[in-house]
């Protein structure tokens, strides 16, 4: 397993796709954090602290996309064939990719938090103590998002469809479903991940942070299981 982890890390390091994803995330976070800092919106309450800290939560989306790329780029380029020739036990390949995606997701979340705090602590008087639950949620959510992305990548096999479906679901579909499902929408994956990084107690719209983390873990496990079934059954 350690060989496969090493190989998957090499794959990530020897192409620049994830570097571009990280750069896009950095740009978005800096834009958001700097705009808060220059707008003279100072954090006056603990809720303000959590709200500003949630700028870093965008890392969870990028972690999800990274996970999709970690698997889907192999399907898109066709290198999955050679990967499976070297490691024909497909379950191990998927688990190795999930391990790397968890590390990448965690790293993205950490980077996002460092950037957010570097700008917002001095620029918007952010109290880190008040935002600690958000910061924990983003770190854990980033790691879980990476694993969930690998599962989605394995289901769709290619990164393009995987990324498209994930973004359409998060940005459009789940909002449409909210109309039909009312409060029950808080159990849908986008809302569960949002709860995980909210740093808040349960409300009508979201479950609490810890329930969100637990739910996100379950979704990631389900996506990985679906990806495992798809990968082991697929003819390459």
């Amino acid at each position: 397993m350690s060989r496969l982890l090493h190989a998957e890390l090499l794959k990530v390091r020897t192409v620049r796709t994830l570097l571009w994803i990280a750069l896009a995330m950095v740009l978005i976070i800096l834009l958001a954090a700097i705009s808060v800092a220059v707008s003279s919106a100072q954090a006056a309450t603990a809720a303000d602290d959590r709200s500003i800290a949630r700028i870093s939560a965008v890392a969870v989306v990028f972690a999800l996309l990274s996970g999709i790329v970690v698997f889907g780029s192999e399907g898109s380029s066709g290198t999955i064939t050679q990967t499976l020739l070297v490691a024909p036990v497909r379950e191990r390949v998927l688990l190795a990719k999930a391990g790397v995606a968890v590390a990448v997701g965690f790293a993205l979340a950490l980077l996002a938090e460092v950037l957010t705090l570097l700008v917002a602590v001095p620029g918007a008087s952010l109290d880190v103590h008040n935002a600690r639950l958000v910061l924990v949620g983003v770190l854990v959510g980033g790691a879980i998002g990476g694993a969930a992305g690998v599962g989605l990548g394995a289901v769709f096999h290619r990164q393009g469809p995987g990324i498209a479906v994930a973004l359409v679901w998060l940005l459009v579909a789940e909002n449409i479903f909210a109309v039909a499902f009312g409060d029950r929408i808080k159990y849908f994956p986008g809302h569960i991940f949002a709860a995980a990084v909210s740093g808040e107690h349960a409300s009508a719209q979201l479950v609490g942070t810890w329930a969100g983390i637990a739910g996100a873990s379950l979704y990631a496990a389900a996506f990985l299981a679906a990806g495992m079934v798809a990968l082991t059954r697929r003819d390459i």
Partner: protein
């Protein structure tokens, strides 16, 4: 070494492999031939664990590919030439495979030198010619110093120099007692390098035998030239042989020894007497009812 037993692969509407059984012996070069859609690639992919059979079994020394302990140290495979990340360098591509297989990094440079692309190893694969990619595929297959090479249409896209390199390489590989199983549509190329052939058609076995035996069995003709062609033709006909005229030559289905004996008995001078070289392509067409070779 390779054993295919009653293999079936059915896709939704099509049957790719239909009850195929054959064995590939150790230490020989075996050609795997068949017209387009015969099931060659499907069979190779089942052998390599990439495609699931509907039923039947393909084993390498009694184990499926998935069951092999260190597959790349037992089997090297060259499949399509497009399975690369275009932005990754050739060396990094091999480093990834070596890392996954637990092969020391130094072996990467060895195989790059062996296939003659060490000078372009740092370039992104997207900038490689088709021939370079095929060599990179061969390098990947050799990483684990395997005892069996499986190649699917390896001459595709290679220039004459590349084809010659591949032929020489495979001969050298097999000369060390290793096994090669090669599918190809370049039948003339296969004819020059294989010891045995497995021919399939519509997913079924048509023939499996030594290449020399196949060409002899399907034709066995003799070409003969004589200044007394008319007398020779009469003599052969009187001996019950069918004779056709082809320019200065006569052709007959008897072996050269028989033709020589008949000519000698009549005192007929011969200027040329040779086995009529039947190409594998002709033999193949005879066996598969004339279907085009891919």
């Amino acid at each position: 070494m390779i054993e295919v037993v009653d293999l079936h692969k059915r896709y939704r509407k099509a049957t790719a492999v239909n009850g195929l059984s054959f064995r590939v012996p150790r230490g020989r070069i075996t050609g795997f031939l068949g017209p387009n859609g015969a099931g060659k690639t499907t069979t190779l992919r089942i052998l390599l664990g990439l495609v699931h059979p509907t039923s039947g079994r393909v084993t390498i020394d009694g184990k499926t590919y998935r069951e092999l302990d260190a597959p790349v140290r037992r089997v090297g495979a060259v499949l399509e030439s497009t399975n690369y990340h275009r932005k990754r360098s050739g060396r990094n591509h091999l480093r990834v495979l070596a890392a996954a297989a637990g092969i020391p990094g130094g072996r990467v440079d060895e195989v790059l030198r062996l296939v003659g692309i060490a000078n372009v190893a740092e370039r992104a694969v997207g900038g490689y010619s088709l021939g370079m990619r095929q060599r990179l595929s061969v390098a990947g297959a050799l990483l684990g110093d395997p005892e069996l090479l499986v190649l699917d249409e390896p001459a595709n896209g290679l220039d004459p120099e590349g084809i010659r390199w591949l032929r020489d390489f495979l001969r050298a590989f097999a000369a060390s007692g290793k096994t090669v199983f090669i599918s190809s549509h370049v039948l003339a190329e296969v004819q020059q390098i294989v010891d045995d052939v497995v021919i399939i058609h519509h997913g079924k076995l048509v023939a499996q035998e030594r290449i020399a035996g196949l060409t002899a069995r399907t034709a066995g003709a003799t070409r003969v030239r004589s200044p007394a062609a008319a007398r020779l033709g009469e003599a052969l006909s009187e001996a019950g042989l069918e004779v056709t005229v082809d320019g200065e030559h006569l052709r007959t289905s008897a072996p050269p020894e028989r033709v020589g004996e008949i000519a000698a008995a009549r005192g007929i001078v011969l200027h040329e007497l040779a086995a009529d070289p039947t190409s594998l392509e002709e033999a193949f067409l005879a066996l598969t009812g004339g279907d085009e070779i891919r």
